[in-house]
Symmetry: C2
Subunit: 202 residues, 2 copies
């Protein structure tokens, strides 16, 4: 059985993702969560800001798993990237361009207007970068290169979500995936590597 706090966090995550932080009301959130209004201040005494922060951290950290799900099981680094972006395309089409990044909207809103909230989004992006760096290192990339490749992946993905959801096409996402593959090929070429997983890292 899911607790009330979890339901509020889940409702907040969905509403913030769609309508943004400023565009979403507390009453909207508790209504969607099926909770009485007062309970939100019981679980989040810091009010909307605390709720926003916790929503960003929890929903953001859940998405870090996507690196494990899509890239880690792949036979080589390139197909891992291609699978990852194919998944993003599927998500866009299946949800009619509703589901994108869970925190990008809030990140842009908060960047210069709400320091604690900005910090939360930054922590999530840093966690994603760490997770991706670890995942790509398993394919034999030195840590610095693995970090570069992860940043290329996340930036391309985020930007593609912006364009795809605005223009309602998956074309930018396909281009973005191909761009990250180009980066991976360049980094592998610098090493003289083939991108296959190394036995000692399995």
């Amino acid at each position: 059985m899911t607790g009330t706090k979890d339901r509020i966090l889940a409702a907040g995550a969905e509403l913030f993702r769609h309508g943004g932080y400023a565009g979403t009301g507390m009453k909207q959130i508790v209504e969607k969560a099926g909770a009485p209004f007062g309970s939100v201040y019981h679980f989040f005494p810091g009010g909307k800001e605390q709720l926003g922060e916790e929503v960003v951290r929890t929903s953001g950290m859940q998405y870090a798993q996507l690196f494990e799900v899509f890239i880690a099981p792949s036979p080589d680094l390139i197909t891992g990237i291609e699978t990852f972006f194919a998944g993003a395309v599927t998500t866009l089409l299946d949800t009619d361009y509703v589901e994108g990044c869970p925190i990008a909207t809030v990140a842009l809103e908060a960047a210069t207007t709400n320091e604690p909230l900005r910090r939360a989004t930054a922590d999530v992006f840093e966690a994603w970068t760490k997770a991706g760096t670890k995942g790509f290192s398993a394919f034999g990339l030195p840590e610095e290169h693995a970090r570069t490749l992860t940043l290329a992946l996340v930036t391309s993905l985020e930007g593609a979500f912006v364009l795809c959801r605005s223009m309602r096409t998956t074309e930018p996402m396909a281009v973005a995936g191909a761009a990250v593959v180009d980066v991976a090929r360049r980094l592998l070429a610098e090493l003289g590597d083939d991108g296959k997983r190394r036995p000692e890292d399995s």
Copy 2:
């Protein structure tokens, strides 16, 4: 002498860029523009939605010129891209990570909540894509490749703005620029071209 409507549009552009569409009030806008409150409904009878739409279109179209300014005068395509992203890094540092894309925040907010506003952002992105495609075509790239390269540039740029402004580092922007260069190199290699401007196109 700048008219009142232009001042309102300029103030709206700056405030929407920082605080987003939902997070910015009409009173804030007219105050910053130094205009009386009623004048906003005189110039924008459609209210906030019409104002948002016109802000997105005017400020978005102004940014299309950046392709001409940074990329067109370059001796070759690769240095054009590098100059473009170096400019983005300078902007981030000079403005302490305040200035990013003028419409990305609104694009994400409006994607699933405000159809006319989403449309305006989509039209701007399409205009940028057209401008970039034309610009890259001048370097001898076939139109389809030039469009692909432009989409790679815009997606990488947008995503890098999200991460840079959230994390307060320019690292993602540097990685994004290098990624777009990788895409350009791949497209040029497919053509056996050197990326220099063609005499007949100058």
